[in-house]
């Protein structure tokens, strides 16, 4: 635990040592504002809720989170510091978790800084704050799942651009798998249970369920197991490919 914390601290402070943190946070806040107020028609729809705010998060994360995750391991690889890190007396899962949790905490900070939107909704009307909290929980979990995928992909390459593109594509598949675009491709020939399985893998269906205000255990398990799976794969793959 202590080692995870030490790695976590180093990683999180390193975000703020570079412009990454500020650029990421500013762009995230700016875009989420634009999406909410213009595309989401926050004022015009006359409802005191944050639905237009949260509904764009999957799309926002789709390109912002891979940008954050791409450096997690690719940079260690390129700079050779992976050799330093992995010859320190820490176990591989501690290194993976420490770095991952730092990135996740960082997205948590960015997400928390969107609080003015929540204040606005409360000032203008009386939103169901329980639903808002559920929305934040869902968004945070989804960001965690994106990051776990990104962390795993990032460990396979020393090239951050490749890490970014591959992560974005994998995440896109996970987002879209609930969409007719993907499902229609399968529904014409695949058995019904397979189509439903694919659909159940979608970030969107689980995220939307949570943002409706219903925190169902199944949705939590979905995100938790997705994160666990990708991080597990991450640890195994680094162990196998750390020297390449």
């Amino acid at each position: 635990m202590a080692n995870i914390w030490v790695v976590f601290k180093r990683e999180l402070t390193s975000y703020f040592m570079t412009p990454i943190a500020y650029v990421f946070i500013v762009i995230f806040l700016f875009l989420s504002g634009i999406f909410t107020f213009y595309l989401g028609n926050f004022f015009g729809r006359g409802q005191a809720d944050l639905e237009p705010f949260f509904s764009f998060h999957p799309w926002l994360y789709l390109f912002l989170i891979p940008a954050l995750a791409m450096r997690l391991w690719a940079e260690e690889r390129r700079g050779g510091t992976i050799e330093l890190l992995l010859t320190l007396p820490i176990a591989m899962p501690q290194a993976v978790l420490g770095k991952y949790l730092a990135a996740w905490a960082f997205t948590g900070i960015a997400l928390a800084l969107t609080f003015p939107i929540w204040l606005t909704a409360n000032y203008l009307g009386e939103p169901d704050n329980g639903v808002v909290v559920a929305g934040y929980v869902g968004s945070f979990l989804m960001a965690g799942a994106f990051l776990a995928i990104g962390s795993c992909v990032s460990c396979l390459t020393r090239n951050q651009v490749i890490a970014f593109v591959v992560t974005a594509v994998v995440c896109l598949i996970f987002v879209l798998s609930g969409y007719p675009l993907v499902l229609d491709f399968f529904s014409s020939w695949a058995p019904r249970f397979l189509v439903e399985t694919i659909s159940s893998f979608s970030f969107l269906s689980h995220f939307n369920a949570i943002t409706k205000g219903v925190i169902d255990l199944r949705d939590l398990i979905y995100f938790a197991s997705l994160i666990a799976f990708w991080l597990f794969a991450n640890a195994i793959l680094i162990e196998m490919k750390k020297a390449d």
């Binding site: 202590a2 080692n3 030490v6 790695v7 601290k9 180093r10 402070t13 390193s14 040592m17 570079t18 700079g79 050779g80 510091t81 050799e83 330093l84 992995l86 010859t87 320190l88 007396p89 820490i90 176990a91 750390k242 020297a243």
Partner: protein
Amino acid sequence: MQGMIEIKNLCKRFGPIVAVDDVSFAVHRGEVLGFLGPNGAGKSTTMKMITGFLTPDSGTVIIEGDDLALAPVAVKKRIGYLPEGAPLYADMTPAGFLNFIAEIRGFRGEAKRRRLDETIAKVNLEQVLDQPIGTLSKGFKRRVGLAQAIFHDPEVLILDEPTDGLDPNQKHEVRTLIRNMAKEKVIVLSTHILEEVEAVCSRAIIIAYGRLVCDGTPAELEARSRVHNAVTLALRGGAVNGTRDELRALSGVKSVELLTQNDDLARFRVYPKDGQSLVTTISQAVRERSWNVEELSIERGRLDEVFRSVTTGEPRTS
């Protein structure tokens, strides 16, 4: 088994390339082992396996009695490692970076502060503590890397090319640092600077094409040189051919080579049979024949020559 590393039958392949082929050796406390070899010979790969970064295909690494494969974290606690090129987190400052190292090595509070001060003083980092590592000069970066490696006063120190790319003063500093730590530690350092081996190592291993080809003290390695114990003799006057024949006739002389000849000065190199000492024989001959000697010196043997001959497969003569 106290104070030692033992490497047994270490092998590592990368695809079709055999990087390390059945390397075994042991190093004891107080020894500074120089790891020599041409680039790509498998030095760094071996060091990466000793420090637990790479997993060997076969073979074992035992450090202070503990098998690295069975207790990696426990073994890594006892090792200080400077990877090749001293990779560091460029965004961090030396202060922040060493603080991270301190915490990961389990130092907290007062002990941490004391150890930080000690290490920073030892490698002279005071003046750059708060500059980002990425902006530091090569010498300072290397010092940060060294500080990281020696921070927890490890029993075993593995240094991959610790002086590579440093200027002569910095090299001297690093070597002094290594020599001062040598007594109570097991130190393995790789280098391709042969003078470094003579300067700091008590033992040297030469590795070529992944195989261990030579193991001995620097003096023993020099003794394998073709010119070891050969005598260089410069004579003024006299017939060159006659002198050469007379030298060749002396007991214990294997061959005589004429190095240079200008005006009436001739320089010979006299090679001994089986590396024996020729000084007495030759000085006696000089006296008996009252040759006019300008120079008389004994060759210790040259490490670079041994290095070349054992790493390129050039026939070795002794």
